[in-house]
Symmetry: C2
Subunit: 109 residues, 2 copies
């Protein structure tokens, strides 16, 4: 027997951050492009943009910055806040799993 869990963050009852969005943010941080990140995740650009937009509308601090034009032509980078979101989510998720496994071991299922 094994205990499993999924965590996510809501704002006013609306999903803000979960595994799917964290995956997208991490891929953008890796590819520095929404388009490349979406492709890598087999997601449409439209869908990726919609997810980012939903998140951005929920926070006062921006999560990504889209660079228009320039030498490298319109890449997208995560803000410090965006990076912090990934780190915080992964930390709390991993701590939660450790906690649950310890609690679960105490039971005699």
């Amino acid at each position: 027997m094994e205990i499993k869990s999924r965590i996510w963050i809501e704002k006013d009852g609306v999903p803000f951050l979960g595994y799917g969005r964290i995956k997208l943010l991490k891929m953008i941080d890796n590819k520095l492009s929404i388009n490349s990140a979406a492709k890598e995740l087999k997601m449409s650009y439209r869908k990726a943009w919609k997810l980012l937009n939903e998140m951005n509308l929920m926070t006062e601090k921006p999560i990504v910055i889209k660079n228009i034009g320039g030498k490298d032509g319109g890449g997208t980078v995560l803000t410090e806040y965006g990076k912090q979101l990934i780190q915080d989510f992964e930390t709390i998720n991993s701590n939660c799993m450790d906690y649950l496994e310890k609690e679960f071991e105490k039971l005699a299922l």
Copy 2:
């Protein structure tokens, strides 16, 4: 912002116990009948029986006992183990939520 979680228990990668099955077990404990419990949960008897059967096949200890005939005619009761499952699941779920909320408060999302 609010943290949410769902927990469940698997055996060899197959779901054994989650919110839906706990709800069914609690309703059987309340109604003392699989049929009445299923009706109350707007679930077919066939579906309820399938869920119970799946759980029973995964454990050595029985979870419910079906009384055949007798004065009250074929009711179903939870075994001590079945009751323990509910209690353990609800305890670990509630402890997990307390833990997550405390951890979440520390973050500055």
